[in-house]
Symmetry: C2
Subunit: 192 residues, 2 copies
């Protein structure tokens, strides 16, 4: 059984934690005001916070991330313009985070999902599917298994370099939702 | 009625042309060996060829593209490695093409679709949806209308800058299909 610590208590944190707990994983939460004091007890730490909140979390825990799998769910958009990213062209939030905590194994996941369709497990008639990218096959396999146990689909989408593409998918999906071209209970689905 | 000239006679060319013709648009095709001699008769020219084939088409027609709407459907992958793009980081095939034919209006579309699901009009239980990006609202609206008339969904996904994200979606989808994580009759669907 994989043990997860989820940092954050928002919609995404609750939806992700719900799926993982339903699949039999142990899940603990760290709220914003507990960051730096509550321990990172899980083998896997999910940073279920907006990208601008990540840096202070990395700083608060420092070396405590060493040896952990860290799941980055962020979409590093400029949320004022919705027209650009706040990471360098060609890079990704996941790559930026990995560079800051080299002792951890960063995995990108959940950023192409909306909270509502993680909770409902369906997008239209299709099972909600989580796309996972990372350089550790073992870390990805454990996350895929935990998500599938929770009743969702999960696909290994390649190396951590593919986080750039997953974040582009998230960017496109968010701009369409904000522009009311699709609903927050819809979005991009995957048919195998 | 919009008139389309489709350059290419492969699976994507036939699938796109089939949708447009079914919707009542006039569709003519230019095969590879007719490039440069057959006229660009349509108001809209669809470059339904792989990205490496685009440059010679642009060179063959030159100023004949002026005033046309040009639909770029390419995914500019490095097809040897399937691990990178052949356009500059942050840019897109669509932006590169627009820079080479400044007298034309480039629209990105169809690159997030597989030929099979354009033809079947369904991805699982969801209607196949074409994502369209470009800087001309009129050009996008005409293409969206022509695609919808053919029985598919179509969404204006924003400015031509969003072609970067659409190409990232295409990149991710292609790598998953090539890696047998999803089938060529499946792929990314859109639920509104």
């Amino acid at each position: 059984m994989t043990t997860f610590t989820i940092i954050g208590t928002g919609n995404m944190a609750n939806a992700i934690g719900g799926v993982l707990a339903e699949g039999g994983s142990s899940v603990t939460y760290i709220a914003k005001d507990q960051v730096g004091t509550a321990p990172l007890s899980g083998d896997v730490v999910v940073l279920a916070v907006p990208y601008p909140a990540v840096d202070s979390i990395l700083a608060a825990y420092g070396d405590a991330f060493d040896g952990k799998v860290v799941v980055d769910i962020t979409n590093p958009l400029n949320f004022e313009t919705f027209d650009s990213l706040v990471v360098p062209a060609g890079s990704s939030a996941a790559a930026e985070i990995q560079a800051k905590i080299p002792g951890a194994t960063v995995v990108k996941a959940f950023n192409t999902n909306f909270a509502a369709t993680l909770a409902s497990k369906q997008i239209g008639e299709l099972t909600t599917t989580v796309l996972v990218a990372g350089d550790s096959a073992a870390a990805k396999a454990a996350l895929v298994a935990a998500v599938e146990a929770g009743g969702l689909g999960a696909i290994d989408a390649g190396s951590l370099a593919r986080a750039h593409e997953l974040e582009a998918i998230g960017f496109a999906q968010l701009t369409l939702a904000v522009g009311e071209k699709l609903g927050w209970t819809g979005g991009f689905a995957v048919q195998r």
